[in-house]
Protein backbone atom coordinates (compact mmCIF):
# COMPACT_ATOMS: atom_id res chain seq x y z
CA UNK A 1 0.00 0.00 0.00
CA UNK A 2 1.28 3.54 -0.76
CA UNK A 3 2.05 5.91 2.13
CA UNK A 4 -0.78 8.17 1.02
CA UNK A 5 -3.44 5.44 1.16
CA UNK A 6 -1.99 4.04 4.37
CA UNK A 7 -2.43 7.37 6.16
CA UNK A 8 -6.15 7.61 6.82
CA UNK A 9 -6.36 11.40 7.28
CA UNK A 10 -4.14 12.19 4.32
CA UNK A 11 -6.01 9.74 2.11
CA UNK A 12 -9.40 11.14 3.07
CA UNK A 13 -8.16 14.68 2.55
CA UNK A 14 -6.87 13.80 -0.93
CA UNK A 15 -10.26 12.36 -1.87
CA UNK A 16 -12.20 15.36 -0.57
CA UNK A 17 -9.84 17.80 -2.26
CA UNK A 18 -10.16 15.96 -5.56
CA UNK A 19 -13.96 15.90 -5.29
CA UNK A 20 -14.09 19.61 -4.45
CA UNK A 21 -12.01 20.36 -7.51
CA UNK A 22 -14.45 18.44 -9.67
CA UNK A 23 -17.56 19.79 -7.95
CA UNK A 24 -18.22 22.46 -10.57
CA UNK A 25 -18.76 19.95 -13.35
CA UNK A 26 -19.68 16.70 -11.67
CA UNK A 27 -20.93 15.45 -8.34
CA UNK A 28 -21.10 11.65 -8.66
CA UNK A 29 -18.20 9.35 -9.44
CA UNK A 30 -17.50 5.71 -10.13
CA UNK A 31 -15.11 3.82 -7.87
CA UNK A 32 -12.71 3.69 -10.78
CA UNK A 33 -12.38 7.49 -10.81
CA UNK A 34 -10.72 7.32 -7.40
CA UNK A 35 -7.97 5.06 -8.73
CA UNK A 36 -6.40 8.20 -10.24
CA UNK A 37 -5.82 9.65 -6.79
CA UNK A 38 -3.94 6.53 -5.71
CA UNK A 39 -2.12 5.41 -8.87
CA UNK A 40 0.15 2.98 -7.01
CA UNK A 41 -2.53 1.11 -5.09
CA UNK A 42 -4.62 -1.97 -5.68
CA UNK A 43 -8.31 -1.33 -6.44
CA UNK A 44 -9.34 -3.53 -3.52
CA UNK A 45 -7.48 -1.35 -1.01
CA UNK A 46 -8.83 1.87 -2.53
CA UNK A 47 -12.38 0.55 -2.36
CA UNK A 48 -11.96 -0.17 1.36
CA UNK A 49 -10.79 3.38 2.12
CA UNK A 50 -13.52 5.04 0.03
CA UNK A 51 -16.27 2.85 1.50
CA UNK A 52 -15.01 3.73 4.98
CA UNK A 53 -15.50 7.41 4.10
CA UNK A 54 -19.16 6.67 3.44
CA UNK A 55 -19.44 5.01 6.83
CA UNK A 56 -17.73 8.04 8.38
CA UNK A 57 -20.34 10.31 6.80
CA UNK A 58 -17.94 12.20 4.52
CA UNK A 59 -19.19 10.64 1.31
CA UNK A 60 -22.49 9.13 0.29
CA UNK A 61 -23.56 6.49 -2.19
CA UNK A 62 -25.86 7.12 -5.08
CA UNK A 63 -27.30 4.04 -6.73
CA UNK A 64 -29.54 3.43 -9.69
CA UNK A 65 -30.12 -0.07 -8.37
CA UNK A 66 -27.73 -1.57 -10.90
CA UNK A 67 -24.62 0.61 -10.44
CA UNK A 68 -23.27 2.55 -7.49
CA UNK A 69 -21.60 5.98 -7.51
CA UNK A 70 -19.99 8.13 -4.82
CA UNK A 71 -20.26 11.84 -3.99
CA UNK A 72 -19.66 14.27 -1.16
CA UNK A 73 -22.43 13.95 1.39
CA UNK A 74 -25.31 16.24 0.51
CA UNK A 75 -23.60 17.45 -2.66
CA UNK A 76 -24.95 17.58 -6.20
CA UNK A 77 -27.66 15.34 -7.55
CA UNK A 78 -30.13 14.04 -5.01
CA UNK A 79 -33.12 11.88 -5.84
CA UNK A 80 -35.13 14.90 -6.98
CA UNK A 81 -33.06 15.65 -10.06
CA UNK A 82 -32.43 13.94 -13.36
CA UNK A 83 -28.84 15.03 -13.86
CA UNK A 84 -29.73 18.75 -14.02
CA UNK A 85 -28.34 19.47 -10.50
Amino acid sequence: MSDLLDNKEAAQEAVVEWLNKKAKTKSKFYIKDFYKIFPDDKPRMIKKVVNKMVEDGILEFWSSGSTTMYGLKGGGIQHSSEGEN
Binding site: P43, S63, Q78
Partner: protein, 442 residues
Protein backbone atom coordinates in the same frame (compact mmCIF):
# COMPACT_ATOMS: atom_id res chain seq x y z
CA UNK B 1 -64.70 1.29 -4.60
CA UNK B 2 -61.19 1.67 -5.93
CA UNK B 3 -59.40 4.95 -5.26
CA UNK B 4 -58.28 5.32 -8.88
CA UNK B 5 -60.02 4.19 -12.06
CA UNK B 6 -57.75 1.69 -13.82
CA UNK B 7 -59.36 0.66 -17.14
CA UNK B 8 -56.01 -0.16 -18.78
CA UNK B 9 -54.82 -2.31 -15.89
CA UNK B 10 -58.20 -4.04 -15.72
CA UNK B 11 -57.49 -5.38 -19.22
CA UNK B 12 -54.56 -7.30 -17.74
CA UNK B 13 -57.02 -9.30 -15.65
CA UNK B 14 -58.74 -10.71 -18.73
CA UNK B 15 -57.48 -13.90 -20.32
CA UNK B 16 -56.62 -17.20 -18.70
CA UNK B 17 -53.43 -16.14 -16.92
CA UNK B 18 -52.92 -15.20 -13.29
CA UNK B 19 -52.66 -11.45 -13.04
CA UNK B 20 -50.52 -9.27 -10.79
CA UNK B 21 -53.27 -6.63 -11.10
CA UNK B 22 -55.75 -8.96 -9.36
CA UNK B 23 -53.14 -9.63 -6.65
CA UNK B 24 -52.58 -5.91 -6.11
CA UNK B 25 -56.31 -5.20 -5.92
CA UNK B 26 -56.67 -8.01 -3.38
CA UNK B 27 -53.87 -6.52 -1.29
CA UNK B 28 -55.32 -2.99 -1.58
CA UNK B 29 -58.63 -4.24 -0.24
CA UNK B 30 -56.95 -6.22 2.54
CA UNK B 31 -55.16 -3.10 3.74
CA UNK B 32 -58.34 -1.00 3.52
CA UNK B 33 -60.20 -3.50 5.73
CA UNK B 34 -57.24 -4.13 8.06
CA UNK B 35 -59.03 -6.90 9.90
CA UNK B 36 -55.90 -7.76 11.87
CA UNK B 37 -55.61 -4.19 13.19
CA UNK B 38 -52.03 -3.66 11.98
CA UNK B 39 -50.41 -0.32 12.80
CA UNK B 40 -49.40 0.40 9.21
CA UNK B 41 -46.17 2.40 8.91
CA UNK B 42 -46.82 3.02 5.20
CA UNK B 43 -49.94 4.89 4.05
CA UNK B 44 -52.89 2.53 4.12
CA UNK B 45 -53.63 3.25 0.45
CA UNK B 46 -50.08 2.61 -0.81
CA UNK B 47 -51.27 -0.23 -3.03
CA UNK B 48 -54.13 1.82 -4.50
CA UNK B 49 -51.67 4.57 -5.36
CA UNK B 50 -49.32 2.01 -6.89
CA UNK B 51 -52.15 0.85 -9.17
CA UNK B 52 -52.98 4.50 -9.89
CA UNK B 53 -49.49 5.49 -10.93
CA UNK B 54 -49.07 2.36 -13.02
CA UNK B 55 -52.30 3.20 -14.85
CA UNK B 56 -50.99 6.71 -15.45
CA UNK B 57 -47.72 5.34 -16.80
CA UNK B 58 -49.63 3.13 -19.23
CA UNK B 59 -51.73 6.11 -20.27
CA UNK B 60 -48.72 8.36 -20.81
CA UNK B 61 -46.52 5.63 -22.24
CA UNK B 62 -43.68 6.67 -19.91
CA UNK B 63 -42.61 5.90 -16.38
CA UNK B 64 -43.36 8.09 -13.38
CA UNK B 65 -40.58 6.60 -11.25
CA UNK B 66 -37.46 8.67 -10.74
CA UNK B 67 -34.14 7.04 -11.37
CA UNK B 68 -32.06 5.96 -8.37
CA UNK B 69 -31.34 7.53 -5.04
CA UNK B 70 -29.27 7.66 -1.89
CA UNK B 71 -30.98 5.31 0.50
CA UNK B 72 -29.61 2.41 2.50
CA UNK B 73 -28.90 1.14 5.95
CA UNK B 74 -25.88 2.22 7.96
CA UNK B 75 -22.69 0.43 7.04
CA UNK B 76 -24.14 -1.15 3.92
CA UNK B 77 -23.87 0.10 0.35
CA UNK B 78 -26.41 -2.24 -1.16
CA UNK B 79 -29.57 -4.20 -0.55
CA UNK B 80 -31.87 -1.19 -0.77
CA UNK B 81 -32.94 0.29 -4.08
CA UNK B 82 -34.27 3.81 -3.69
CA UNK B 83 -37.41 4.59 -5.66
CA UNK B 84 -39.44 7.80 -5.66
CA UNK B 85 -42.38 8.73 -7.87
CA UNK B 86 -42.65 12.07 -9.67
CA UNK B 87 -46.39 12.50 -9.00
CA UNK B 88 -46.42 12.59 -5.19
CA UNK B 89 -49.40 15.00 -5.05
CA UNK B 90 -51.74 12.63 -6.84
CA UNK B 91 -50.23 9.47 -5.42
CA UNK B 92 -48.87 10.30 -1.96
CA UNK B 93 -48.88 6.65 -0.91
CA UNK B 94 -45.99 5.90 -3.27
CA UNK B 95 -44.00 9.11 -2.91
CA UNK B 96 -41.17 6.91 -1.62
CA UNK B 97 -41.43 3.26 -2.61
CA UNK B 98 -38.06 1.64 -1.97
CA UNK B 99 -37.24 -1.98 -2.73
CA UNK B 100 -35.35 -4.14 -0.23
CA UNK B 101 -33.43 -7.17 -1.43
CA UNK B 102 -33.23 -9.84 1.25
CA UNK B 103 -30.71 -12.68 0.94
CA UNK B 104 -32.75 -15.82 0.24
CA UNK B 105 -31.72 -18.97 2.12
CA UNK B 106 -29.56 -21.51 0.26
CA UNK B 107 -31.78 -23.71 -1.88
CA UNK B 108 -34.72 -21.43 -1.00
CA UNK B 109 -35.77 -23.56 1.98
CA UNK B 110 -38.28 -21.95 4.32
CA UNK B 111 -40.29 -22.81 7.35
CA UNK B 112 -43.85 -21.53 7.22
CA UNK B 113 -43.45 -19.62 10.47
CA UNK B 114 -40.50 -17.78 8.95
CA UNK B 115 -42.62 -16.82 5.94
CA UNK B 116 -45.37 -15.60 8.26
CA UNK B 117 -42.86 -13.52 10.18
CA UNK B 118 -41.60 -12.02 6.93
CA UNK B 119 -45.12 -11.17 5.76
CA UNK B 120 -46.02 -9.70 9.15
CA UNK B 121 -42.94 -7.49 9.06
CA UNK B 122 -43.75 -6.33 5.55
CA UNK B 123 -47.44 -5.68 6.25
CA UNK B 124 -46.36 -3.61 9.25
CA UNK B 125 -43.43 -1.61 7.84
CA UNK B 126 -43.91 -1.88 4.06
CA UNK B 127 -46.59 -2.17 1.41
CA UNK B 128 -47.10 -5.89 2.04
CA UNK B 129 -46.16 -6.58 -1.59
CA UNK B 130 -43.38 -9.12 -2.09
CA UNK B 131 -41.79 -10.82 -5.05
CA UNK B 132 -40.76 -14.38 -4.23
CA UNK B 133 -38.23 -14.39 -5.75
CA UNK B 134 -36.73 -11.67 -7.93
CA UNK B 135 -34.62 -12.30 -11.00
CA UNK B 136 -31.55 -12.04 -8.77
CA UNK B 137 -32.84 -14.87 -6.58
CA UNK B 138 -33.45 -12.62 -3.56
CA UNK B 139 -36.61 -12.23 -1.55
CA UNK B 140 -37.87 -8.88 -2.87
CA UNK B 141 -39.77 -6.61 -0.50
CA UNK B 142 -41.42 -3.91 -2.62
CA UNK B 143 -42.32 -0.49 -1.31
CA UNK B 144 -41.29 1.19 1.90
CA UNK B 145 -40.12 4.62 3.08
CA UNK B 146 -36.65 5.79 4.09
CA UNK B 147 -37.59 6.01 7.76
CA UNK B 148 -38.54 2.33 7.92
CA UNK B 149 -35.28 0.98 6.50
CA UNK B 150 -33.22 0.78 9.69
CA UNK B 151 -36.16 -0.67 11.63
CA UNK B 152 -36.69 -3.40 9.06
CA UNK B 153 -32.97 -4.13 8.95
CA UNK B 154 -32.88 -4.43 12.73
CA UNK B 155 -35.77 -6.89 12.81
CA UNK B 156 -34.36 -8.93 9.93
CA UNK B 157 -30.92 -9.24 11.47
CA UNK B 158 -31.86 -9.54 15.15
CA UNK B 159 -35.16 -11.40 15.21
CA UNK B 160 -35.01 -13.35 11.97
CA UNK B 161 -31.30 -14.10 11.56
CA UNK B 162 -31.56 -12.75 8.06
CA UNK B 163 -29.36 -10.43 6.01
CA UNK B 164 -29.86 -8.05 3.10
CA UNK B 165 -28.69 -9.08 -0.36
CA UNK B 166 -26.55 -7.28 -2.92
CA UNK B 167 -27.39 -4.49 -5.36
CA UNK B 168 -25.53 -1.79 -7.29
CA UNK B 169 -21.85 -2.41 -8.02
CA UNK B 170 -21.68 -5.11 -5.37
CA UNK B 171 -21.35 -8.83 -5.47
CA UNK B 172 -24.96 -9.89 -5.86
CA UNK B 173 -26.59 -12.43 -3.60
CA UNK B 174 -25.17 -15.82 -4.62
CA UNK B 175 -27.92 -18.16 -5.76
CA UNK B 176 -28.08 -21.95 -6.11
CA UNK B 177 -30.22 -24.95 -6.97
CA UNK B 178 -31.28 -27.20 -4.10
CA UNK B 179 -28.49 -29.62 -5.03
CA UNK B 180 -27.64 -32.64 -2.90
CA UNK B 181 -30.26 -31.76 -0.32
CA UNK B 182 -32.91 -33.22 -2.63
CA UNK B 183 -31.51 -34.04 -6.02
CA UNK B 184 -29.75 -37.27 -7.01
CA UNK B 185 -28.11 -35.56 -10.01
CA UNK B 186 -26.15 -33.09 -7.87
CA UNK B 187 -22.38 -33.43 -8.30
CA UNK B 188 -21.51 -31.21 -5.34
CA UNK B 189 -23.19 -29.60 -2.35
CA UNK B 190 -24.41 -26.33 -3.86
CA UNK B 191 -25.99 -25.19 -0.59
CA UNK B 192 -22.69 -25.53 1.28
CA UNK B 193 -20.72 -23.67 -1.38
CA UNK B 194 -23.27 -20.86 -1.72
CA UNK B 195 -23.24 -20.45 2.06
CA UNK B 196 -19.45 -20.36 2.10
CA UNK B 197 -19.19 -17.80 -0.72
CA UNK B 198 -21.85 -15.62 0.92
CA UNK B 199 -19.85 -15.54 4.16
CA UNK B 200 -16.41 -15.34 2.59
CA UNK B 201 -17.30 -12.32 0.46
CA UNK B 202 -19.46 -10.35 2.92
CA UNK B 203 -17.60 -7.10 2.24
CA UNK B 204 -18.08 -7.41 -1.53
CA UNK B 205 -21.74 -8.35 -1.00
CA UNK B 206 -22.63 -5.40 1.20
CA UNK B 207 -20.41 -2.61 -0.12
CA UNK B 208 -19.68 -1.65 -3.71
CA UNK B 209 -16.37 -3.03 -4.90
CA UNK B 210 -16.55 -3.40 -8.64
CA UNK B 211 -17.02 -1.55 -11.96
CA UNK B 212 -20.55 -2.99 -12.11
CA UNK B 213 -22.67 -5.86 -10.79
CA UNK B 214 -21.15 -9.34 -10.34
CA UNK B 215 -23.14 -12.55 -9.94
CA UNK B 216 -22.30 -16.07 -8.79
CA UNK B 217 -24.82 -18.78 -9.53
CA UNK B 218 -24.46 -22.46 -8.69
CA UNK B 219 -25.99 -25.48 -10.40
CA UNK B 220 -25.43 -28.96 -9.02
CA UNK B 221 -25.34 -30.55 -12.48
CA UNK B 222 -25.49 -29.60 -16.17
CA UNK B 223 -29.30 -29.59 -16.10
CA UNK B 224 -28.69 -26.05 -14.88
CA UNK B 225 -31.97 -25.53 -13.03
CA UNK B 226 -30.97 -21.98 -12.01
CA UNK B 227 -29.67 -21.32 -15.54
CA UNK B 228 -26.34 -20.18 -14.10
CA UNK B 229 -24.77 -20.50 -17.54
CA UNK B 230 -26.93 -17.62 -18.82
CA UNK B 231 -27.48 -15.56 -15.69
CA UNK B 232 -24.20 -15.12 -13.87
CA UNK B 233 -20.74 -13.64 -14.38
CA UNK B 234 -19.34 -16.79 -12.79
CA UNK B 235 -21.29 -19.97 -13.01
CA UNK B 236 -20.41 -23.15 -11.10
CA UNK B 237 -21.91 -26.19 -12.79
CA UNK B 238 -21.53 -29.63 -11.25
CA UNK B 239 -19.89 -32.31 -13.38
CA UNK B 240 -17.85 -35.51 -13.14
CA UNK B 241 -14.53 -36.80 -14.47
CA UNK B 242 -14.95 -40.56 -14.54
CA UNK B 243 -17.56 -42.73 -16.27
CA UNK B 244 -21.34 -42.61 -16.22
CA UNK B 245 -22.45 -45.53 -14.03
CA UNK B 246 -24.56 -48.01 -16.02
CA UNK B 247 -26.96 -50.59 -14.61
CA UNK B 248 -27.35 -52.85 -17.68
CA UNK B 249 -30.37 -54.72 -16.25
CA UNK B 250 -32.21 -51.46 -15.75
CA UNK B 251 -31.31 -50.33 -19.28
CA UNK B 252 -33.00 -53.45 -20.59
CA UNK B 253 -36.09 -52.80 -18.46
CA UNK B 254 -36.40 -49.44 -20.19
CA UNK B 255 -35.92 -51.11 -23.58
CA UNK B 256 -38.62 -53.68 -22.71
CA UNK B 257 -40.97 -50.84 -21.74
CA UNK B 258 -41.36 -52.17 -18.20
CA UNK B 259 -44.02 -49.89 -16.61
CA UNK B 260 -41.89 -49.49 -13.48
CA UNK B 261 -39.23 -47.87 -15.69
CA UNK B 262 -40.98 -44.97 -17.45
CA UNK B 263 -38.78 -42.79 -19.66
CA UNK B 264 -37.90 -39.37 -18.16
CA UNK B 265 -39.07 -40.75 -14.81
CA UNK B 266 -42.60 -40.36 -16.15
CA UNK B 267 -42.29 -36.61 -16.46
CA UNK B 268 -44.10 -36.33 -19.80
CA UNK B 269 -46.70 -39.01 -19.08
CA UNK B 270 -50.28 -38.10 -19.96
CA UNK B 271 -49.43 -35.01 -22.01
CA UNK B 272 -49.92 -37.08 -25.19
CA UNK B 273 -49.41 -40.64 -26.39
CA UNK B 274 -45.67 -40.87 -26.93
CA UNK B 275 -45.81 -44.49 -28.09
CA UNK B 276 -43.45 -47.16 -26.78
CA UNK B 277 -40.05 -46.05 -25.55
CA UNK B 278 -37.41 -46.23 -28.29
CA UNK B 279 -33.85 -46.25 -26.93
CA UNK B 280 -32.29 -45.77 -30.35
CA UNK B 281 -34.38 -42.72 -31.19
CA UNK B 282 -34.84 -41.10 -27.79
CA UNK B 283 -31.42 -41.64 -26.25
CA UNK B 284 -28.68 -42.73 -28.66
CA UNK B 285 -29.99 -40.56 -31.50
CA UNK B 286 -30.21 -37.49 -29.30
CA UNK B 287 -26.80 -37.82 -27.64
CA UNK B 288 -25.10 -34.63 -28.86
CA UNK B 289 -21.73 -36.31 -29.38
CA UNK B 290 -23.11 -39.62 -30.63
CA UNK B 291 -20.89 -41.46 -28.18
CA UNK B 292 -23.32 -44.25 -27.22
CA UNK B 293 -24.22 -47.59 -28.70
CA UNK B 294 -26.45 -50.52 -27.73
CA UNK B 295 -25.34 -53.98 -28.84
CA UNK B 296 -26.36 -57.46 -27.65
CA UNK B 297 -28.47 -55.91 -24.90
CA UNK B 298 -25.50 -53.93 -23.62
CA UNK B 299 -25.16 -50.17 -23.51
CA UNK B 300 -21.72 -48.70 -24.22
CA UNK B 301 -20.70 -45.10 -23.57
CA UNK B 302 -17.47 -43.70 -24.95
CA UNK B 303 -16.93 -41.49 -21.90
CA UNK B 304 -13.96 -39.62 -23.41
CA UNK B 305 -16.39 -38.15 -25.95
CA UNK B 306 -19.32 -37.61 -23.59
CA UNK B 307 -19.93 -33.89 -22.87
CA UNK B 308 -21.86 -34.64 -19.66
CA UNK B 309 -25.01 -33.09 -21.13
CA UNK B 310 -27.26 -35.17 -18.78
CA UNK B 311 -29.68 -36.18 -21.55
CA UNK B 312 -29.30 -39.96 -21.26
CA UNK B 313 -29.37 -39.78 -17.45
CA UNK B 314 -32.53 -37.66 -17.48
CA UNK B 315 -34.27 -40.14 -19.77
CA UNK B 316 -33.21 -43.28 -17.88
CA UNK B 317 -32.53 -42.21 -14.29
CA UNK B 318 -32.94 -45.76 -12.92
CA UNK B 319 -30.27 -47.10 -15.29
CA UNK B 320 -27.70 -44.32 -15.50
CA UNK B 321 -26.02 -42.29 -12.80
CA UNK B 322 -23.49 -39.47 -12.75
CA UNK B 323 -19.88 -40.60 -12.14
CA UNK B 324 -18.27 -40.84 -8.71
CA UNK B 325 -15.39 -38.42 -9.20
CA UNK B 326 -17.38 -35.22 -9.01
CA UNK B 327 -16.62 -31.51 -8.92
CA UNK B 328 -17.67 -28.54 -11.01
CA UNK B 329 -16.95 -26.57 -14.15
CA UNK B 330 -16.52 -22.79 -14.00
CA UNK B 331 -17.95 -20.64 -16.78
CA UNK B 332 -17.51 -16.88 -17.04
CA UNK B 333 -19.07 -13.85 -18.60
CA UNK B 334 -22.81 -14.47 -19.08
CA UNK B 335 -24.87 -11.28 -19.19
CA UNK B 336 -28.05 -9.67 -20.42
CA UNK B 337 -27.92 -7.20 -23.31
CA UNK B 338 -27.19 -3.79 -21.82
CA UNK B 339 -23.93 -2.52 -23.37
CA UNK B 340 -23.32 -5.28 -25.92
CA UNK B 341 -25.57 -8.17 -26.81
CA UNK B 342 -26.52 -10.99 -24.47
CA UNK B 343 -23.89 -13.63 -23.84
CA UNK B 344 -23.76 -17.12 -22.38
CA UNK B 345 -20.91 -18.08 -20.08
CA UNK B 346 -17.66 -19.34 -21.66
CA UNK B 347 -15.99 -22.40 -20.18
CA UNK B 348 -12.91 -21.37 -18.18
CA UNK B 349 -12.23 -24.40 -15.96
CA UNK B 350 -13.54 -27.74 -17.29
CA UNK B 351 -13.14 -29.45 -13.91
CA UNK B 352 -12.25 -28.11 -10.49
CA UNK B 353 -12.49 -29.83 -7.14
CA UNK B 354 -15.18 -28.62 -4.75
CA UNK B 355 -13.51 -29.17 -1.43
CA UNK B 356 -14.96 -27.73 1.79
CA UNK B 357 -12.05 -29.14 3.81
CA UNK B 358 -9.62 -26.58 2.42
CA UNK B 359 -12.21 -23.80 2.22
CA UNK B 360 -12.74 -24.32 -1.48
CA UNK B 361 -9.23 -23.01 -2.06
CA UNK B 362 -9.10 -23.93 -5.75
CA UNK B 363 -12.31 -22.02 -6.43
CA UNK B 364 -11.54 -18.87 -4.44
CA UNK B 365 -8.21 -18.59 -6.22
CA UNK B 366 -9.95 -18.39 -9.61
CA UNK B 367 -12.50 -15.91 -8.26
CA UNK B 368 -9.92 -13.55 -6.78
CA UNK B 369 -7.68 -13.60 -9.86
CA UNK B 370 -10.66 -12.65 -11.99
CA UNK B 371 -11.72 -9.88 -9.63
CA UNK B 372 -8.21 -8.38 -9.53
CA UNK B 373 -8.18 -8.22 -13.33
CA UNK B 374 -11.70 -6.86 -13.73
CA UNK B 375 -11.32 -4.24 -10.96
CA UNK B 376 -8.10 -3.03 -12.58
CA UNK B 377 -9.08 -3.17 -16.25
CA UNK B 378 -12.88 -3.10 -16.38
CA UNK B 379 -14.40 0.19 -17.55
CA UNK B 380 -17.25 1.78 -15.62
CA UNK B 381 -20.37 -0.34 -16.08
CA UNK B 382 -18.49 -3.01 -18.00
CA UNK B 383 -19.45 -6.58 -17.13
CA UNK B 384 -16.86 -9.33 -16.97
CA UNK B 385 -18.24 -10.81 -20.20
CA UNK B 386 -17.64 -7.53 -22.01
CA UNK B 387 -14.10 -7.25 -20.67
CA UNK B 388 -13.44 -10.79 -21.93
CA UNK B 389 -14.73 -9.76 -25.37
CA UNK B 390 -12.67 -6.55 -25.35
CA UNK B 391 -9.34 -7.94 -24.12
CA UNK B 392 -9.77 -11.51 -25.29
CA UNK B 393 -10.33 -14.90 -23.69
CA UNK B 394 -6.58 -15.42 -23.91
CA UNK B 395 -6.11 -12.56 -21.45
CA UNK B 396 -8.53 -14.23 -19.06
CA UNK B 397 -6.42 -17.40 -19.25
CA UNK B 398 -3.30 -15.36 -18.51
CA UNK B 399 -4.68 -13.61 -15.45
CA UNK B 400 -6.04 -16.84 -14.02
CA UNK B 401 -2.87 -18.79 -14.86
CA UNK B 402 -4.86 -21.43 -16.70
CA UNK B 403 -3.31 -23.16 -19.73
CA UNK B 404 -5.32 -23.21 -22.94
CA UNK B 405 -6.93 -26.58 -23.64
CA UNK B 406 -9.23 -28.05 -26.29
CA UNK B 407 -12.34 -27.50 -24.13
CA UNK B 408 -11.78 -23.73 -24.44
CA UNK B 409 -12.23 -23.82 -28.21
CA UNK B 410 -15.78 -22.96 -29.25
CA UNK B 411 -15.15 -22.98 -33.01
CA UNK B 412 -12.13 -23.09 -35.34
CA UNK B 413 -9.92 -20.04 -35.35
CA UNK B 414 -11.08 -17.10 -37.50
CA UNK B 415 -8.10 -14.84 -36.79
CA UNK B 416 -5.00 -15.76 -38.84
CA UNK B 417 -2.54 -13.75 -36.74
CA UNK B 418 -0.51 -15.14 -33.87
CA UNK B 419 1.60 -12.86 -31.71
CA UNK B 420 4.10 -14.57 -29.45
CA UNK B 421 5.28 -13.01 -26.26
CA UNK B 422 9.00 -12.93 -25.55
CA UNK B 423 8.79 -15.44 -22.73
CA UNK B 424 6.90 -17.89 -24.93
CA UNK B 425 9.77 -18.09 -27.47
CA UNK B 426 12.92 -20.10 -26.65
CA UNK B 427 15.77 -17.62 -26.33
CA UNK B 428 13.46 -14.59 -26.34
CA UNK B 429 14.02 -11.69 -28.74
CA UNK B 430 17.78 -11.49 -28.15
CA UNK B 431 20.11 -13.33 -30.46
CA UNK B 432 23.84 -13.86 -30.69
CA UNK B 433 24.83 -12.33 -34.06
CA UNK B 434 28.24 -13.99 -34.06
CA UNK B 435 26.63 -17.36 -33.61
CA UNK B 436 24.18 -16.49 -36.41
CA UNK B 437 26.94 -15.45 -38.77
CA UNK B 438 28.59 -18.84 -38.40
CA UNK B 439 25.72 -20.28 -40.45
CA UNK B 440 24.52 -17.33 -42.53
CA UNK B 441 26.60 -15.12 -44.81
CA UNK B 442 26.18 -11.40 -44.98
Amino acid sequence: MAKHETPLLDQLESGPWPSFVSDLKFQAEKRAKNEEGIEFQMPVDVVEDLLGILELSFKHGRTHWKHGGIVGVFGYGGGVIGRYCDQPKNFPGVEAFHTMRVNQPAGKYYKTDYLKQLCDLWDFRGSGITNMHGSTGDIILLGTTTKQLEEIFWTLTHDMNQDLGGSGSNLRTPSDCLGQSRCEYACYDTNALVYFLTNEYQDELHRPAFPYKFKFKLDGCPNCCVASIARSDMSFIGTWKDDIRIDQDAVNKYVENDPAYPANAGAYKGSKDWGPFDLEKEVLGLCPTKCMKFQNKKLFIDNANCTRCMHCINVMPRALKIGKETGCSILCGAKAPILDGAQMGSLLVPFIEVNPDNDYEAITEVIENIWDWWMEEGKNRERLGELIMRQGFQKLLEVTGIDPMPQHVAYPRTNPYIFWKEDEVPGGWERDVDEYRKHHQR
